[in-house]
Structure formats: C-alpha cells, structure tokens
C-alpha cells in the first residue's frame, strides 16, 4: 500500500521547489473544451528521475527522523469498533456497546488510518502499510454507563411510556504508538500476514 506524504512547513521548502523541476508547460495546446465533459487538466512534462529522487529524499528524511527518535509525540487515527479515534500515547478511549474483549486483554490496533508527528504525516489509503505503525492498547475496565431515562409522553392522548437503560462501555488504554517499520518498504507478497499456511 503506497503512502501519501506531505511534509509540513519545516521540511517542505527545502525538499520541493517547482523551479527546480525541468517542466515544460503545454497547456496552451489543449485550450479547446469540445471533446471533454470535464475541463482537461493542464499537464506538465516531468523528468521521472528527478521526481523519483524527490520522493526518495522525502522518505529518507522521515526514516532518518524516525531512526534518530526525533519525531516527537506521535498521534494516530485508528478505526475501532466502527468508529474512528484520534489517539496519542496514554489516552483512554471508550468503546460503547457490545464488544467482546475483556479486562486485561492486550490488543494491537491494526486499522491505522493516519500517523502524525512533529514534521510529517503519513496518510493511509485507507490504512497505512501493515507493520509500519504499531499501536498497542490494554482493556482496563468494562462497565455500564449511567442510567438513561427514555420517557415519552403525548399530551391529552393518555400516552406515557418510560424505560431505563444503560450502555456497555469498555475503557481502553493506549500503551504505545510506534513507527516500527520502514517507510515505503512494502513486502513483495501482501495479504498473507494473518493466514496460517
């Protein structure tokens, strides 16, 4: 799974400069709109070698920062029990409704949609590469919410209905968020990680 990268203010000006690219604007040739339902995008001819170099430079900078452990505090967006949570280390998140894991269970959250650090953000399409980000969590408590009153009443219609209910809640402590794998280094074969062969 490939990743989109975008460097934030600190690194972007150094890395990418449009004037450095050997581009040639040919948009003048396609000004007519007759045969397209949408406006054709003006395109530019880019040297693939230079572009590849730019990509590798960005990836290298991220890898260097991660290896030197200078990325700072990391946040991640995970998909868990049908909801998305933006989390960082030490957070407690609440999963509502029926959810099987019990107290003390240690979990690895696999569906990581986004990882962000001080100078870079990794955006998954829709999730980041398997094994790149390592998010672990522990179930610390299973409990019920406070009692909620469901009261319905219609005036002058002799209709009144009252119910009480509580929702199951699971508290989850986020233990670690690491960037363990190497960026843009996908395995040759994917899809077999969770299979017993």
């Amino acid at each position: 799974m490939s990743l989109l990268r975008q460097f934030c203010s600190k690194l972007a000006p150094i890395l990418v400069n449009n004037s450095v690219r050997s581009t040639q604007n040919v948009s003048a040739a396609i000004t007519t709109n007759r045969f397209f339902s949408n406006k054709p995008a003006p395109y530019e001819i880019v040297d693939p070698k230079i572009e590849k170099q730019e990509q590798q430079d960005i990836i290298k900078k991220v890898n260097e920062q991660v290896n030197a452990n200078q990325q700072g505090r990391i946040f991640a967006v995970v998909h868990l029990a049908g909801k998305q949570f933006k989390i960082t280390e030490g957070d407690v998140i609440v999963v509502e409704g029926y959810w099987p894991p019990g107290p003390g269970d240690k979990l690895k959250l696999d569906k990581v949609l986004m990882v962000g650090a001080k100078d870079f953000t990794l955006i998954g399409r829709p999730i980041v590469e398997d094994g790149l980000a390592n998010v672990t969590a522990t179930v610390i408590e299973k409990t019920l919410s406070h009692t909620k009153t469901d009261f319905k009443k219609k005036r002058r219609k002799q209709y009144k209905n009252i119910n009480f209910y509580r929702i199951q809640q699971t508290m989850l402590r986020i233990n670690t968020i690491d960037l363990s794998g190497k960026l843009n280094n996908p395995p040759d074969v994917t899809g077999t990680e969770h299979r017993i062969l």
Partner: protein
Amino acid sequence: MVFTTAVNFIRSRGPDEFWRKRKIFKLAAHFQGRKRNCYSITIRYVHRALVYATKGRKLKKVDMANLWEQRILSGCEQHGVTYPLFKESLSRSGVMLNRKTLADLACWEPQSFKALTDIAQARAAQDGLNVSKSLEPPSGVVTRGMIK
C-alpha cells in the same frame, strides 16, 4: 395491615405517598419556585424535562454532525478548497477519514489538515474536476504515480 373495607385497601396500594413523591422531587431539585415544591406542578415540569432529555439525546448527535461539518468547512475555506470538492477528492484518493476525525484534525492538527487539502487540490487538478476557483496544484505534493 388490616383493611376493614375494600375502599381502604385500594387507597393504600402502591408505594407510600411520601416516597413516591420524593422520587419526583429529587428530579426537580434544581427547578425554581413552586415547580420544585408543589407536587402537582412539579410532576408536570418533570415530565416535560424528561421528554426534552429523551429528544435531546438524538438532537445532540445531529448538533455534533453540524459542528463537525462547520469545522471542516472553515478549514477548507482557509486553504481555498470547497467542502464538496474536498470530500470528493479525498474519497477518490482512498482516504477514508470520517467527518468527526477531519473536524478533529482541522481543529487540533492544522498541518495535517493542510496536507489533506493539498492532496485534495492536487487530486482535483489531476482529475480535472469542475471547480469554480482556479486551482494550481500546491507545491510540495508529489502526485505522479502515487495518487491513482
């Protein structure tokens, strides 16, 4: 207890009046004036409050959704992308962040949100989407071979 007549038996059914009323008065402890002291008035307002609470639980979800949309909209406007274009481009790029998360990012992770709008702009320019504003692909986003 001994009931000499059927009338007395019917009158003494159920929980004691004091405790039955106390349950209601407890819910009305924060009301003002006679709404908290006189039972016949209290019960009316407690019922009304409980109905509001039940309805409000649904409305809260609607309100939150509106708030998220507004936050994303503001973030988009800041970077010169329209909201529909932003959503369309992101889904075309396979970015499946929901509105709650996007709103969180717009609030608390401005740099990451800008990255998303940049990607959306680049994608829109690449696909030639109909956009009212003229969009130049932002510098710093390498799209070729990556957004497909």
